[in-house]
Symmetry: C2
Subunit: 210 residues, 2 copies
């Protein structure tokens, strides 16, 4: 039986080994790479961003990339885990009430979220590409699974159907609504999609802001 170490290389944290560069700064750069990658990937897709661009965005050259990650694919997976954690943490801070839920859905289906994919939902920005990239399907699966669980648990749901089923239906509507609102070139139609999907999920007929 073979044990495979799947642990991720985290510079500046090797145990008992000397760190010639300040560990804190190195870890900070590592983090910056992750964050810039997460932003750029969501803005332009995995294949639309080069490693050089990402490194430049963090203020480094392309050289030291492989001191931080083993490959682009690993960076993709790591940046997804990173984004997922932040999204889940944010979700957990929302008031576990009907109002909290509606406000969450409202902000998800807002023009602001539609227009800033780099800071938004990982799934809506990257799902089809993820489907085709074996290396990133696992983090996506973990993320979505955790998100479903958390939404089902955190918010109140009508009791005629299971909370989990309703969470899944809600997420599907949110993702689908955002994805098509982003793809459409007509601002009026795009806004109509956001409003209609929002209305279906919250019963609200007032337009969402920001």
């Amino acid at each position: 039986m073979t044990t495979i170490m799947l642990g991720v290389k985290i510079p500046g944290q090797k145990i008992g080994k000397p760190m010639r560069y300040p560990a804190a700064e190195t870890a900070e750069k590592h983090e910056r790479i992750l964050e810039q990658a997460a932003r750029l990937f969501r803005e332009r897709g995995f294949s639309g961003v080069s490693l050089g661009e990402i490194m430049k965005a963090t203020g480094l050259t392309h050289g030291p990339f492989y001191n931080h990650f083993a490959s682009k694919e690993e960076l993709m997976a790591e940046s997804m885990r990173h984004t997922s954690q932040k999204a889940l943490s944010k979700l957990e801070t929302i008031e576990p009430s009907e109002e909290g839920k509606n406000s969450f859905i409202n902000s998800y289906l807002s023009p602001s979220h539609r227009d800033t994919p780099g800071d938004g939902c990982l799934i809506a920005a990257l799902a089809p590409e993820i489907s085709r990239e074996p290396g990133v399907r696992e983090p996506l699966t973990c993320h979505l699974s955790a998100f479903i669980d958390q939404m089902a648990m955190q918010f109140p749901w009508p009791e005629d159907k299971s909370a989990r089923q309703q969470a899944i239906q809600t997420i599907a509507s949110m993702v689908g609504g955002l994805v098509i609102a982003r793809a459409v070139a007509d601002e009026t139609l795009s806004q109509e999609i956001l409003s209609d999907v929002l209305a279906g999920l919250t019963g609200s007929s007032s337009p969402q802001q920001g």
Copy 2:
């Protein structure tokens, strides 16, 4: 004032000009390029497919591509229009009843559709990439707009809300459900997503086949 000709080059159909290769065969090749492109783009994304691959799939070499299309971007737009027309035609053949609607939704959210993106929904396969590619947002917008109209008109909808709004909500759920079912690596979860979204849209609790 300048008039810009946006017409698409269609080999074998220039008026009054001699066609040295058989017009019928040339038009057939043109069609084959469109179809292979539409399939490959949906399977692997725009940026995941090279022009060489597409031409090879049609039985030609990469050379004559530019005798048929002005650029990859034009091919992308044309293949989307081509796919859109076929999808709309197919939609129109569906019986305009509750059963027809449910059967349509059922087949959209089936494992078969999930597993064969190359022959499936254009939007679910390509929407995020379309959002980032200026040259293909117009055909997507036309497609979605026509699809909304047709669904709203063709199927019966509860009268407490506008048919159009319900069509939009339904499409959003379908697209979102398919997109996340495809992205997830866990077959059980993927199947659960398909079933739950389907149940929310049709009230059916029986699993979909094919």
